[in-house]
Symmetry: C2
């Protein structure tokens, strides 16, 4: 991840070049492009067309070009995009030129797994501290890190310059944990607890609710069953031919592998 001067920085007065005001939908797709680009780089490609990159990222090429156009113009007409340059660009925009420190709160079932998740480390982050409110878990070592008591959050947050807090506690504890994270200056929270968090302006919260994902899929199962006229309780309904046009959930489109 080399530092890369941002080209959209015009006559801005701040000490740091302002980032382009990217649409949220674009921001959410940039990490997917980045992942696809790393795959391409590893397989020896140094140039890629919008069509090929779009396929690898599971979007259509018009959307990809539109998204990239918000970053500035980094393609070459008639040729495509330089893979290494585009990686640098996207990593710069996403703020991945520094490895951000993550604090994980709640080392139960899910928290344990997250603490050991290699993808966090390989994609730009550093798990800097683990916390729990349960004394019986404090002191346990997970993946080379010792679990601290949540009361030590302030001390450790200052030491480690925590940029992002991850909440993996039960729902009833989550708001209190969020309040503590905000109090020590954390302005980005990833919440795995199934509840709504109340935070001040300027704090970003993203929520991942595993049961909700299944419930959304359940709706589509139910809908497919009702369309084919097969009773919703019938087994093996999935083997029946379906009318087209149902595949897209807004999450992924079918693409050639």
């Amino acid at each position: 991840m080399s530092q890369h001067r941002h080209p959209g920085a015009s006559g801005h007065t701040g000490a740091v070049p302002a980032l382009p005001d990217l649409p949220e939908a674009t921001v959410a797709r940039l990490p997917e492009y980045l992942r696809a680009l790393h795959n391409l780089a590893e397989t020896g490609h140094d140039t890629v067309s919008s069509e090929a990159l779009a396929t690898a990222a599971g979007v259509n090429s018009a959307k990809l070009r539109k998204d990239l156009s918000h970053l500035g113009s980094y393609g070459t007409r008639g040729v495509g995009y330089d893979v290494a340059l585009l990686i640098d660009q996207i990593e710069y925009v996403l703020g991945l030129t520094q490895r951000r420190a993550v604090a994980l709160v709640g080392v139960g079932n899910l928290g344990h797994a997250l603490a050991g998740y290699a993808g966090f480390v390989s994609r730009g982050f550093r798990i800097a501290a683990l916390f729990d409110a349960d004394e019986s878990r404090v002191g346990e070592e997970i993946n080379g890190l010792v679990v601290r008591h949540i009361d030590d959050l302030a001390t450790i947050a200052a030491q480690e310059a925590i940029a992002i807090g991850v909440i993996a506690t039960p729902a009833p504890a989550a708001q209190s944990v969020a309040d503590r994270l905000v109090a020590v200056g954390v302005t980005s929270i990833l919440n795995f607890a199934p509840c709504v968090l109340s935070v001040p302006d300027g704090v970003d919260v993203r929520k991942v609710d595993l049961a909700i994902e299944l419930q959304i899929l359940s709706f589509h199962e139910h809908r497919k069953a009702s369309l084919t006229g097969i009773p919703a309780s019938g087994p093996a309904a999935g083997l029946t031919a379906l009318p087209g046009g149902l595949a897209a959930t807004g999450t992924q489109e079918a693409v050639g592998s």
Copy 2:
């Protein structure tokens, strides 16, 4: 979860009433309303206004009323919504009147945690089978279920009427697992592997990528730092006052707790 006849079922000819054609954005919010309604029911409320329910679900009331209007009219003007009735309604639409069987493939770090995740069971699902390709993991018992070899998928899928497949394998294995799931009739897949899956029309895929969530937060951290003129590497930037209008990420809005 009582069976509830769907009111939007007009003169449809199929054996099962057709579901209303809900906007995807609405479908994605219904589970959040359902969770909030269950909380309300548990705390003794039998009626709720759109304003109160919206707050509990982290959306504004206009959006909530609009969403619910797609299901039909279940509120009473001047009074609000009947909590129990609305729970039945939403559970019906989401297809949660039956407990759907889930097959989980990949019992590594994350898969282990998912296999023990209580939220799946408490919110309408049944983990019916665990699979792995690694012989050393086959036979292990997790949460009362024995891990089977992925080659046994066809046999067990037929026995258990698997409705949803969850992929928690490393990325290189995910496409092959998806192909196998589709081959045995699974038409809904939740993918935790960081890669794009190629599936036929009629198969729904939702993707959860934990690193992508952090990268989106990283973008906003980077952006906040650039706006305040504080170098992106400076610690404790979060304690600085920020210009307003930055809180919403499209994922959650600030609400009173």
